[in-house]
Amino acid sequence: MREELLGVGERIVKRALELGFDEAAVRVTFRDATMVKFANSEPSVAQSWKDRSVDVYVAKDKRILGTSGSVSSIGEVEEILGRLRALASRIPESMLYAPLPEPSKVDFMEGLVDRRILEAISDPSDVSELIVEAVHRRSVDYFAGMFEASYTAKALVTSTGTSLYEDATGIQAYVRVFAGDGSGQWSLGSRRLDEKRIEEMAEIAARYAVEAKNPVDVEPGTYNIVLSPMVAGNLMNYVARMASAMSVMMGMSIFAQKKPGEKVASEKLTLIDDPRNPELPYSWSFDDEGVPTYSKPIIERGVFRTLLHNSKTAAKMGAKTTGNAGLLHPHPWSLSVAPGDRSLEELIEEAGDGFLVTNNWYTRLQNYVEGTFSTITRDAVLIIKRGEIVGAAKKFRIADSFPRMLSHLAALTRERYDMYWWEVKPPTRIPYMLFRDVHTSKHTG
């Protein structure tokens, strides 16, 4: 696989230079994946993908152009490159242009491929059966969810001499369990297949489903709220994506008017862009410009530390690349939030009166620069009275702002969970987090 993918990359770089481009970077990706989707406690579909794709960045006289396509139609990729070369002289320079970085030594992470995941790609039915069985150990009605096992290999070849290859496996799994009028959802992302962790995921979702039964209406207001790793992961995803320098340039970030060194959150918050964590999917040793990745705080003890850059945004903003390059846009890798020192019971006790919100979706912003947003709960919302769970609540919204909420983070648990699903991408290792005085809302009629 290594030689095949590198060979494709070398061929396209060579062709781009022959056509007269000054620079080229080519990423060639192979994906072999199987996903089983569940509904009503049975598989609704088993899906399988095996494909090779190519993404190309080229530059001529500071004009930036790109293409992508499938490796099996590589002739067409080359034809497009020819058309792009003719076009390059007719368009203006890119405001983002900067030379591709020179090759750097990359320290490759070990252990990114798990043989057992490769076996599950070929036949995931045993894992499927385990999920069905594990969910139904409790007295629940039914569940929905998914399990995906994947292998990804990628090669990067650039005109500056970069020639890199890396491969990795990964799983993504989540279940949503229904029990009467209650439901609970939990997820897992990992580079290794461990049945015990899948069972734990099913157990937590099923437990929350049972605890969520008989929910009552609650009034909107200002509450202390414990966010589960599902919810906290979703919100930290937004914070991390807004830390991309491209988000700042496009007016899509709370960091648009901030500089590294400014306090942006409670000192309890340390949010890390964590590509060197070999246990989390989205961990890779090099970025799309061949720059070695490294783990670094986006926010450290409440202080904004790092805007995520590729070489182009870095040049534009007078900074250095942080190894977060996509071919055009910088992006976060896997994320982690530093743990706190509380148990979940202690966190709930510290909340006093409020809620434990275990899942959410549909987070949308009114204004990215000001960070105003709302998100709506789903699944178990547990009522906390005098430091104890006393029942379940019906759905409501958190309607607040990121700057305000980040400054109101009061405590975190020691234990962290590896979350990865629809609403938490990139995968995030994260504890339960207690926020004080969170604004909530609900329909008026």
Partner: protein
């Protein structure tokens, strides 16, 4: 599109039947696109890409298998078929209810969406100039505030498909689309910022640029955003008022709270862990959801629409679907699986994003039926109310019942006249309240473009959503402080 592609999909269907599958479907699916993006009038870059491959779906012992390959040879699709067949068969032991598809009269047809001005009718220089000019017009529109950021893009795409299945479908299609979008931030340091994301898209070509009038509308909008920062007051939230809801919001409301909950796969729980379930239960056809003005139609066959198609990805001929009709839940969106479960026929809602995606139940172009009033007539008998014209933030719960729209451009209505701007009114109501409070709609039907997300892996498909301006009686608004 060459005969080789047709040969491959036909071969896949034959081969799948030889393997022993009860149903086989093969879809050649190609999407090519070009796009250019600018920030504050300066070019970021230009991209021209494509993706193509073959998707196969099989039914084996009541289990559904799907596989995709980009290798466009007989060997490539054969390998994909074997994967789909093997996975379906190995999971059939876990099936409690076998999956079957409804019997349908399937299409043998070829069609293409019309394009009056082709993508080559404008040079690349013209396209870049268009976006640069948009920036110049926008930044020149304010007097006190500053247009801090205008990110804009222009994108062209062509989607080609060949859908063949073992039940006799053979449908070739070609749909070109144009889209234009922007994110604008207007800032006044002493007052804060206003942000608006907006996009237009349609099937066809550059004939749409004139119709969209973005060059005229964006500067007007920017002036309004400046006025919101300078002048807007707090909306009334202490008592129920009448709310005139702009067509931009009405379109989103019907998409979110009629279209999605009417998806039969969601009603049956297939998306429960992702996009959620539905407040609509299988036996609710005929139940009242709103007033006589609540008629919502989803129609894939609208010429020029963003969600245009004439046959779905299972080969079923498309038609308008009346989801809510005069206030009653009337019809669900079906594919051949849900139609079989409900004992009815598919209404051609099966769509897929690309060759890597299974066809699932989707909307196309969803809109509220317009009325016969003018906009002035909607407003003239409102004593105290708010007209909310546009929005930014929105969300809805996973059963599509509690929905929220954060107003952006909004006006106070007093004694039948629009007064000053109000800031951050929030319409946060249940689906029942929205449709039941509807007492009038004007005749100004307008469509808006979106990419609707659903499925696992997530599939984004092009849609339109729209409607007229409508009036709701007796709504308590919220406000974002």
């Amino acid at each position: 599109m060459t005969w080789e592609k047709e040969d491959i999909v036909a071969y896949a269907v034959d081969k799948g039947q030889e393997l022993g599958a009860d149903y086989v479907e093969a879809r050649y699916h190609r999407r090519r696109s070009t796009s250019l993006a600018t920030r504050n009038g300066e070019l970021l870059g230009f991209e021209s890409s494509f993706e193509e491959g073959v998707a196969v779906r099989v039914l084996v012992d009541g289990a559904l298998g799907f596989a995709a390959t980009e290798i466009l040879t007989r060997e490539g699709v054969e390998a994909a078929l074997e994967r789909a067949y093997r996975q379906a068969r190995s999971h059939s032991r876990l099936m409690r209810e076998k999956i079957v598809f409804s019997d349908e009269r399937l299409g043998v047809a070829s069609y293409a969406a019309l394009q009056k001005k082709g993508f080559d009718s404008l040079s690349e220089e013209d396209k870049i100039s268009y976006l640069r000019d948009l920036w110049e017009r926008a930044r020149g529109a304010t007097s006190t505030a500053r247009v801090a950021t205008l990110m804009s893009f222009l994108a062209e795409s062509v989607e080609e498909k060949i859908v063949v299945n073992s039940d006799g479908a053979y449908v070739k299609s070609l749909v070109p689309r144009l889209s234009l979008g922007y994110n604008v931030v207007v800032a006044l340091p002493s007052k804060g910022t206003i942000q608006k994301w907006f996009s237009r898209a349609a099937s066809g070509g550059y004939e749409w640029l004139d119709a969209w009038r973005v060059h005229e509308r964006l500067p007007e909008d920017v002036k309004t955003y400046e006025k919101i920062l300078l002048e807007a007051s707090k909306p009334p939230t202490d008592r129920p008022v009448d709310v005139v809801v702009g067509s931009e919001i009405v379109g989103l409301v019907v998409h979110e709270s009629c279209g999605h909950p009417s998806e039969a796969d969601r009603i049956l729980g297939r998306e429960a862990a992702q996009a959620g379930k539905s407040f609509i239960k299988p036996d609710m056809v005929g139940q009242r959801i709103g007033s006589e003005y609540a008629t919502v139609i989803d129609d894939p066959t609208i010429p020029g629409s963003n969600g245009f198609y004439l046959y779905d990805d299972e080969g079923v001929p498309a038609r308008p679907r009346f989801l809510y009709k005069e206030g009653l839940i009337n019809e669900f969106l079906h594919n051949r699986w849900t139609a079989a479960v409900f004992g009815t026929h598919s209404n051609a809602a099966a769509r897929s994003m690309n060759y890597g995606s299974e066809p699932i139940v989707r909307m196309a172009n969803t809109y509220l039926k317009p009325g016969d009033m003018s906009f002035d007539e909607l407003v003239e008998d409102v004593k105290l109310g708010v007209y909310i014209k546009s929005y930014m933030e929105w969300n809805i719960d996973d059963e599509r019942w509690s929905q929220r729209y954060g107003g952006l451009e909004a006006y106070l209505i007093e004694n039948g006249e629009l007064k000053g701007l109000v800031k951050n009114p929030v319409l946060e109501v249940t689906t029942k309240t929205f449709y039941s409070s509807l007492d009038a709609a004007d005749k100004n039907l307008e469509f808006y473009a979106g990419t609707c997300g659903k499925g696992e892996p997530m599939q984004g498909v092009p849609v339109w959503f729209g409607g007229p301006n409508v009036r709701l009686r007796g709504i308590t608004l919220r406000v974002r402080e």
